[in-house]
């Protein structure tokens, strides 16, 4: 099967077997949109590994995966792409291998470099959605700026300990980004103290992946102009409405 075969079946009104269990939520029209979509996942660690896994299985047609980092032992507790066999391997390249094993409909471009201000817009141009799966405020600021300049929706996710947050920022909305990425020039949040356990990034990544699917298919409501904050230590979920900058 190729992407063209799957699209031909879908356009004939038939759901390919591999997407049969997607039928009840996004339908044939939604699956066609996903297979024709291009999504950038920036960061292929705790968040990005799960996002790549979920979007490839869901049937996104093209994934651009950017990460200049390589797997270390301290990634094993949570980063689904890291194994005892691929220690030291570049994370974007490992993600590309994983996608190839999951879904041959999904074309992957792996960039084994860190996001850079000069290259960011050249790499990300033409994407339908950008996923922020980074781990520092500085890189997140750079990515948000690139997404806004390119007028591409951004799905933000971040975690620390039992807590995490997810938000969708559309290009025409001037929300206050300091809510997401800090008012100060701090480089990181309370994850330095609380750490990054196994389940929290999986939770945030699942929410981010669902945002991508909703943005592309038009099904449901996205987290635009709001942040979904969760604290799994006490099973608390808060949606915080964001005002537009005046």
């Amino acid at each position: 099967m190729t992407t063209a075969d799957s699209l031909a079946q879908l356009q004939d009104g038939r759901m390919p077997q591999r997407y049969l269990r997607n039928l009840g939520t996004i339908g044939i029209a939604g699956q066609i949109r996903l297979l024709q979509a291009k999504v950038a996942v920036v960061g292929a660690g705790g968040l990005g590994g799960h996002v790549v896994e979920l979007l490839a299985r869901q049937g996104v047609g093209e994934l651009l995966i950017i990460d200049g980092d390589s797997f270390a032992q301290h990634n094993w507790n949570r980063q689904i792409l890291s194994t005892e066999k691929n220690l030291g391997m570049n994370k974007a390249l490992a993600a590309a291998e994983r996608v190839a094993a999951i879904n041959s409909d999904t074309q992957v471009q792996a960039v084994s470099r860190m996001l850079e201000p000069k290259a960011a817009e050249a790499w990300l141009g033409g994407m339908d959605v950008i996923v922020d799966a980074l781990d520092s405020f500085a890189a997140r600021r750079m990515l948000l700026q690139a997404a806004q300049n390119l007028r591409i929706p951004l799905v933000h996710g971040a975690i620390a300990g039992f807590t995490g947050q997810v938000a969708t920022i559309l290009p025409d909305e001037k929300i206050m980004p300091e809510f997401l990425i800090g008012e100060t020039m701090a480089t990181s949040g309370v994850e330095l103290q609380l750490g990054n356990p196994a389940a929290t990034p999986a939770m945030a990544a699942a929410l981010q992946s669902q945002e991508v699917v909703k943005l592309i298919t038009g099904v449901g409501e996205t987290l635009r102009r709001q942040i979904l904050y969760f604290d799994m230590e006490y099973n608390l979920f808060e949606k915080i409405q964001l005002k537009e900058r005046v």
């Binding site: 781990d135 405020f137 609380l194 990054n196 005002k243």
Partner: protein, 79 residues
């Protein structure tokens, strides 16, 4: 004014003894700001990253009123 406070993650340690999941009530003089509330419970406002009043994100200079439900969140940036 009577406020309902919710503290999250690392800020929860500032909740009074006996409060559950960082949720408690607090009496403050009318018109205090969110930053003043943080200071009143021993939190340096610099440690607060997001502030929510009745479900809406606000700045630290936002003035509070009776029965407001206030959430304070530390910065979250990991991946």
């Amino acid at each position: 004014m009577q406020l309902e406070i919710r503290l999250y993650a690392t800020l929860r340690q500032y909740a009074p003894p006996g409060s559950i999941a960082g949720v408690f009530s607090l009496e403050l003089p009318e018109g205090k700001t969110v930053d003043a509330l943080a200071e009143a419970i021993g939190i340096c406002p610099d440690k607060v990253h997001m502030r929510m009043v009745n479900g809406i994100g606000v700045a630290g200079s936002h003035h509070l009123k009776d029965h407001d439900r206030v959430g304070l969140f530390p910065p979250v940036g990991g991946g």
